[in-house]
Symmetry: C2
Subunit: 264 residues, 2 copies
Amino acid sequence: MAAKFDRIAADLRHRIEASELQPGDRLPSETALLEEYGVSLGTLRRALDLLEAERHIQRVHGRGTFVRSRRTRLERSSTRYQWEKNRVGLSEEERLSEGASEKDTGLPLERFVFSARYEEAKADEDLADALGVEVGTPLLRRTYRTRVDDESAPFALVVSHLVVSHIEGNPRLMDESAEPWPGGTQHQLSTVGIEVERITDRVLARPATADEAREFDVAPGEALLVDRKTTFSTDGRVVEVADNKWPADRMALSFETTLEKASR
Amino acid sequence: MAAKFDRIAADLRHRIEASELQPGDRLPSETALLEEYGVSLGTLRRALDLLEAERHIQRVHGRGTFVRSRRTRLERSSTRYQWEKNRVGLSEEERLSEGASEKDTGLPLERFVFSARYEEAKADEDLADALGVEVGTPLLRRTYRTRVDDESAPFALVVSHLVVSHIEGNPRLMDESAEPWPGGTQHQLSTVGIEVERITDRVLARPATADEAREFDVAPGEALLVDRKTTFSTDGRVVEVADNKWPADRMALSFETTLEKASR
DNA sequence: GAGTGGTCTAGACCACTGT
DNA sequence: CAGTGGTCTAGACCACTCC
């Protein structure tokens, strides 16, 4: 025997999934639902709590409870890495003609707004380990925020770290006003003689901290998808560590692995 | 002014994080906590709901509320694919000597309990599209559950689909009692002349549905990490589509991309 | 001010676990 | 059986939004 709140949640969930209630629609008020289901407030609210955790509904204090629209999920594939590398030798004109994000699908490029902030930093223990340098090594920290034009909260937050000693051959690389750099980080690295050979991505999902929940405008505890991308040069150094974060419902990551003939 | 349930949750959270309450310890009973905090049952339970969603505590009906031990996250890398391929030519003895899961880190292999179920199925629209076959094509559906020995809920759930016409050359492949098959799916496919050339993984995180929350014993709405793994043979056919699911806090996936020289 | 969702209370009764 | 957590009620009062 299922609990009452479970049956109420299942009923409303069904009405949403059957499109009887459309995204953006307001649900009947709690008062009306109390009447309809003949339960007490605590029970009804518990059913709504469930649906809210499942992202089916969004409650707005004073205005009402609304069916959440499914946000489009951006698709990004690891094949963009080779694509980006192939463009390293192109002229600035050619690199400008097509941005890397067009390799992604889900939303048109024009709908994104980028911003970048550069600052100097010193390697903490985590970054020193990831970059293979000593704690305290001077780094360039680049923070990128991407948002969709009609939203205020960021869509993606990327914090990238480069080792200053790797890139000081080209002072333009330390200048945030040069962003967005046509051709991206692989081209930037090529200007100081670094060729990228290998990239690893470590992907996981975890609940947003209180700060992150505020920044991304998601519920506290809601999941973020995070990806630490580590870039290796042909001479085996780690040349970039980039931490990527998205609200989990906004991103899908694809990776392609090509296998060689079996060997022992 | 924070809500009462928030302050109670914060207080208990602090007592747990300060190790005043250790993993495995029983919290004071609800009756005792009602006394201690001087609130009503609904308020207290709401605080406990929060802590349960954050996985700090686990409530067991009739026994008590316990501090949860932090679960280890399993690490899995895409390098296991090539490793598995390299073992296809080995003898059964050699393949038996080391299981694929030993390529993972985080928990010792002996602590895992596997179970497999085979059944016949027909391709629905989604699977037909993923496998590149007609809707209704006969498939073999293999469902794998993995759990940790001292837990009752599964750690991982994998639903794999193979095309029956690809594998009917070896009737043993349709027999679930042959599981666990030493050498894994790549070896199984090799027995019908299929060599794997390329694997794609599409990774995303989403809230668990009500059914999944029950199955994995996680709070409703808690995040799952899901990975659709698509396997291509050397002759370009899709030979397996495997849907992998884990509670998000239990898995981290790594992928390695090696780049070739730039080309246009 | 009317209507919405958010918090809280005091209590009843049920379901499960261990002795 | 006593003790635990799980569900539900009927109501009060508060906070926010929009007219």
